[in-house]
Amino acid sequence: MNNNIFQFNRVGKLFRRTFQQNSKTFLNNTLVLAGLPILFLLIARLTSNEVPSLLFRSNFLAFTVGVIFIFSPFFYYFYNHPKKGLSEVMLPASVLEKFVVMQMVCMISAPLMVLVFLGGSDALITALFPKYQDGYAIAHFFNNRLTTDGVLLAFLSLQALFFANLFFVRRKILKSIASFLVINFLISIIILVIIKVMESRGYFDAVSCNMSVQLNDRGPFEFYAGDNALTMFVMTLRIFMGIVLPILFMIGSYRLMKTNRY
């Protein structure tokens, strides 16, 4: 049966094509990523005779994973270009298949590449030269840097930029960053207004002035019966920003891909 919506066979072909088409870029990136820990070690040894600290290496790994993860949609910079985009849009595969492959590349392959090559190279140096370097940055990253809120925020940013990359045709990066700032500003204003309205209606009367809302230990849907109004509000906001908004961006991106004209 000729399935025009989704076929794993075509997804596999698309995935393979993406890597074949960009093999040089991937190779260059992996070499640079794998070489960075060696460079750090050399610089540290030559300049201060000290070793790069585990905290620095872990932070750097987290920063690189974050940047690559969030900005990976620009890997598909030309998808909606009126001329250059034809090679993608006219390729015999469904929009859903193309969308899934693009999401997989951005959400899985791009951060995985950093973790494997940057984290792997760091781990290899530690394993081979324990005298010069202490601890594994990748283990420290997974144990201390990977928080639920961090992942949700990165997911929101990725989907927002994925959408922006398909929405804007020219000067994408500039326009994306500008709209990102404007939308953040607007969301902050809206939140402030909602808090003010809630406050004026007495929702926060029972809330202590110096209480803190600890959400890091909670899952996104962990509501408790005794939660005060502020906690409930922050939790709801968290679900909206971390789950609802990214899903809306995903639906918007898919719709743009499906209806884009060239």
Partner: protein, 276 residues
């Protein structure tokens, strides 16, 4: 194969195509002629699913092209005039290697043969080739896909004179017999002896969609020492005047596409009436 019914298209407020209808069949090489800006490229884009009609319908293989389903996309190949989509940092052989798996009827031997005939170096990077060479490389890939519908926008642009001759021969020799080929051009001489039927698009309308046989049945083309009084159109040529007249028992003549085009532009309603 292609059915267009009362199709209209606008870019913003500017109307490009207005209420056009036509049918295109398999196994023919259509020439889509028209002046610059009459909507030839837009029509090709609508047929290939890159644009959506504003009004009316376009159906290709019984499908709405704008849905861009994999089965539809694997049966067509659209080669635009500008080839930025193919000018990557890879060779045409590599381009074919990574894209051919999506075209079930792709023929590698045919691809290699056409590349050889066009004298294109298959291992040279596409972004290092001249425009004409890239065009030949892209044409080789397009024909080798064995697509049932081949849409070529100004394919002879950028080709030198020997390559234009070669292009005509390659199209005739290698395009499958059941393929419908639609070639858009404003350089009619480049496609002489290749295209049949001929579609002439005017501002917002189809002026003609007729076979050469029908055209020569209705119009007579000849070289005369002086211009006959019943000539619809004439132009000076070495040895006299190329004249186009209504064919009232003047016999069959070879259709001069350029003269036909100019005649149509000068006598739109009469030609439309004659060839309806």
């Amino acid at each position: 194969m292609i059915t267009i019914n009362n199709l209209s298209f606008k870019y913003g407020k500017k109307e490009v195509l207005n209420d056009i209808s036509m049918k295109l069949e398999a196994g023919k090489i259509y020439g889509l002629l028209g002046e610059n800006g009459v909507g030839k490229t837009t029509l090709l884009k609508i047929i290939s699913g890159l644009q959506k009609p504003w009004k009316g319908s376009c159906s290709v293989f019984g499908e709405d092209p704008f849905k861009r389903t994999p089965s539809f996309l694997s049966r067509i190949f659209y080669l635009p005039e500008e080839l930025e989509f193919i000018q990557n940092d890879c060779s045409i052989r590599y381009f074919a290697k990574i894209n051919a798996p999506f075209y079930p009827k792709f023929n590698k031997e045919k691809f290699e043969t056409i590349l050889k005939e066009f004298e294109v170096e298959g291992d040279k990077k596409l972004n290092k080739l001249s425009y004409g060479q890239v065009k030949k490389a892209a044409l080789s890939f397009a024909i080798a896909t064995n697509a049932e519908l081949l849409l070529l926008d100004e394919p002879s642009n950028g080709l030198d004179i020997p390559s234009k001759t070669l292009f005509r021969r390659i199209i005739v020799q290698y395009v499958s017999d059941n393929t419908c080929t639609l070639i858009s051009t404003h350089q009619v001489r480049d496609l002489e002896n290749l295209i049949d039927p001929i579609i002439i698009l005017d501002n917002k309308a189809v002026l003609m969609n007729a076979s050469l046989e029908k055209i020569s049945e209705k119009l007579h083309f000849g070289l005369y020492s002086s211009v006959p009084s019943n000539a619809l159109y004439w132009e000076p040529a070495p040895g006299g005047y190329i004249c186009v007249m209504e064919n009232d028992d003047l016999g069959e003549s070879k259709v001069n596409i350029e003269a036909l085009f100019n005649t149509t532009m000068h006598h739109k309603s009469r030609i439309k009436e004659l060839l309806a």
